[in-house]
């Protein structure tokens, strides 16, 4: 049994160089998924490079309508940022409803996005907001970033430094929590921007977060809850499990989308 090696990075470039020499290193952000996974012996990295204290990856900056959130900014900091709340209240509300207070004070936006849990909240927001995910190497659009369940466009050793987006004219997230875990069983982020409406769904898709283009088209025609309620949602490619089958999730996609639009 080999010993786990722990490294603490003080900035993004140090983190990237620390992980480059490792056998099977992993970045440790808030640890809200990785550490329980390791405890359950479902992951056994050789090294952990802790980036939660990387100073150039923390904080929120707002310039006009453009929002930039450092990857290691905690959910609690996103939820409680008054400037952000003034320009994009939907992202603050979403962050304030992730997990419980302990999770929100450790978990980070970068960690959540990099993990791309099919029931995580942030991927829906970033996809609906047309966000850009910036890494130590490049910028990746949210449309290209979320590849599939727990899969992203990140290369080995690549690290997310920040996410940025333009605050929408209107936007809201409606989440239906799983009765046990309280992860999103279905979560829908609906946003209206100059480029049009975007609707992203988390929790329901068997390939992870996805855009509901029929609803987007309907909302481009008329931004109202009824527009999405009239869209037919197929249960194909939706998840079925002991908490709800695909037909139920298909229904929830409509209901949550309508609620998101109504609240936006």
């Amino acid at each position: 049994m080999s010993e786990l090696k722990y490294h603490k990075a003080s900035n993004a470039s140090e983190a990237a160089s620390m992980i480059s020499g490792t056998e099977d290193g992993k970045f440790l952000a808030g640890g809200q998924t990785l550490l329980p996974t390791m405890k359950a012996k479902l992951a056994a990295p050789s090294d952990l490079v802790d980036v939660s204290g990387a100073s150039d990856m923390i904080g929120i900056s707002i310039s006009g309508n453009t929002v930039s959130i450092g990857a290691m900014t905690t959910h609690a900091d996103v939820a409680g940022n008054p400037e952000l709340n003034a320009v994009c209240p939907s992202i603050c509300a979403l962050a304030g409803n992730i997990g419980d207070p302990a999770v929100r004070h450790r978990g980070t936006i970068g960690g959540s996005v990099a993990n791309n849990d099919p029931a995580a909240d942030y991927p829906a927001a970033l996809l609906a907001l047309g966000a850009t995910i910036t890494t130590n190497n490049r910028d990746i659009s949210a449309d290209d970033f979320f590849v599939g369940m727990f899969e992203t466009a990140l290369e080995d050793g690549e690290i997310i430094t920040k996410v940025s987006f333009d605050a929408p004219e209107k936007g809201a997230y409606a989440k239906f929590p799983n009765p046990a875990s309280r992860y999103a069983m279905v979560g829908v982020f609906a946003a209206k921007s100059s480029g049009g409406a975007r609707v992203a769904v988390t929790g329901a898709g068997s390939d992870g977060v996805f855009r509901q283009s029929d609803m987007e088209a309907a909302l481009d025609g008329s931004w109202s809850p009824d527009s999405v309620s009239d869209v037919s949602v197929s249960a194909d490619n939706l998840l079925s499990d002991i908490h709800g089958d695909a037909a139920y999730r298909a229904n929830l996609v409509k209901v949550m989308a309508a609620r998101a639009v109504a609240n936006a």
Partner: protein, 786 residues
Amino acid sequence: MSEGIGASVRRKEDKRFITGKGKYTDDIRQENQAYAAFVRSPHAHAVVKSIDASEAEAMEGVVAVLNGHQLTEDGIGNIIAGWAITSKDGSGMNMGAWSALCTEKVRYVGDTIAIVIADTQEIARNAADAVMVDFDILPAEVNPEATLADGAPQIHDNAPNNQIYDWELGDEAATDAGLASAAHVTEMEIINNRLSPNPMEPRAAIAIFDEAEDHYTLYTTSQNPHVARLLLSAFYQVAPEHKLRVVAPDVGGGFGSKIYVYPEEIACLWASMKTNRSVKWTSTRSEAFLTDAHGRDHVTRAKMGFDANGKIVGFKVDTIANIGAYMSLFSSVTPTYLYATLLSGQYDMPAIHGNVRAVYTNTAPVDAYRGAGRPEATYLVERMMDTAALEMGVDPAELRRKNFIQSFPYQTQVIMNYDSGDFPGCMDKAQAAADVAGFAARKAESASRGKLRGIGYSSFIEACGIAPSAAVGSLGCGVGLWESAEVRVNPVGTIEILTGSHSHGQSHETTFAQLVNDRFGIPIDNVQIVHGDTDKVQFGMGTYGSRSGPVGMNAIVKALDKVEAKVKKIAAHVLEASEDDIVIEAGEVKIAGTDKKMAWHEVGLAAYTAHNLPEGMEPGLKEGAFFDPINFSFPSATLICEVEVDPDTGVTDILQFTTADDFGVIINPMVVEGQVHGGIAQGIGQAMLENVVYDDSGQLLTGSYMDYAMPRADDLPSFTIEHNNVPSPSNPLGLKGCGEAGAIGAPPAVINAICNAIGNNNLSMPATPSKVWAALQEVSTQQAAE
């Protein structure tokens, strides 16, 4: 402020619990302490071909890896069910062997194969992972009906078709005749869902072997340490009874799951002798989900017949009870004598027949869980009543009223003799408190917001205060179910109460002291409750079945009677008065009507100095008593649940939850209400959230809180609790017991309310949003068809 019977005194034990100073088994550290971890089966059913522990044994820090063959060689006995149930053909139970460590075969995921002892917990767990077991995987069966079919996997050789017993209670011919005469028969299939007990503190044990004395000590999370000692010595042969001390220190909840002695405790105690190390094991939450005895899991088909006036004329019940892979301690009695004996509910039923088949499946053992059999009976009876009312087009409360038992004692057709109660009175109080009269207006208001409002009843009775020893003995129980107590008055007048009851959340340190205050006027701070240690308390049967009040407290009262008599004798002698003239009030012992008196502590001192005692009296002031009840006690209640369903999502909000209970005499109303709150929370959990699910291969799908939905505070409403107490005539204090009431009564009230709201009676527990939504789709499909 009074601290006697009826006073809502704050809990004495809360200071240490709230400040984090409780002392639980896992807090105990021993010198020379080693840690245990278990090699468990990843398969639901498999032959164990070989065990290779060589890699684990070679790991640094590993002390030993011990298996079932070594356990058997040392003469350690199999785990047993403590109540013999006789099938209707006169045959005994087909009880399969359950060794603490499997030798030939594993029968459920989590089954114990070997114990690893190591210097640290981490090493022990890693070494357990390194033990290689070669399995021959067999087909598994988890379904309680399918397991009875020909060709189903044979789980124990001596239980053909996996049937343990086929038992009946009541008069089948009379019941059939009643049903044949009925103007209306309601017929249902009811599933009572399987639950995981989830006490906050997981099971734990620390076994200490003293080689010099050949003496064993076991600290463990037990609801009944004396029963554990009896089992470990007389039945499992791990250590002789006089050489074994079992201590159950602070225990963080049990709900039944800590009544039993499990394989892990047996293995740890045995391993402490084998390795001459103190052996400690603390269950992980994952192990708790896999191996703590589950609750409920019944499949029932039932018919209830009514005459043209709505009076019940017959009730016939056919139940299959899933026992899991092995027969745990109370597994045989829970679905029989704790279940079918309550099938009469609160109703005058002229004929009842209950048939129960207990079956093995490749799942964790199933045993008593808060309510134990009585929730299953209540859910069945109360779902039948609401369904019958719906089918006959009558008000469900009126149908209940029409059938309520009105006079006591009442002999049911299923053994129980109800000693007291006021069922219409509970219904009246509950209906008034729930403002049933205003329901129609509230339903209309909900409808105006697009929501569906519903109301549901549950009128239940349970049998607590388990139990008259001779009676249970005649029905197959292996032990007596009395309780013991000892009252020690110290020379300074302070008092220790030693009790065989065990508190793992029940507030005994407060409520038991209130009995002393009520009798002698001594502040409860001067009373210490001692429990949970077989070296201190002579014997006891422990806490389960809401018995600490009706049985345990009455044992204390009997001992207090003896102390009082001796105190009066001493005071009469010292004060030169007649014993009959002595009264004890507010901590003083007086001659009635005079100012001549002794302070309480002066009597204590007199007893121990023994300078001036009545002739022939022994020194000291210490009395013991055993209390064996003459009957069960019968708490009852009507609960009313009012819900609002969101038809878009199927989400149910409980808007009001009202209960009007008859608990007999109440010692501490605040504590009783706390018990009721917790019980209802668990009942709502069963009704709406909780469900243990295995896949077809026997893998547990709900092995963590990610998938097993525990009720949280925001799932629950505030509760309205009314009391309609009729003292029990069957015990000196008039107590009936309150610990299980909410968990027993709540589930049918919730489901009846949701069914009422959605207009579909076809709904099973847990009524999750997805199930409620699907039931609503059935209604719309039906309406579209019509």
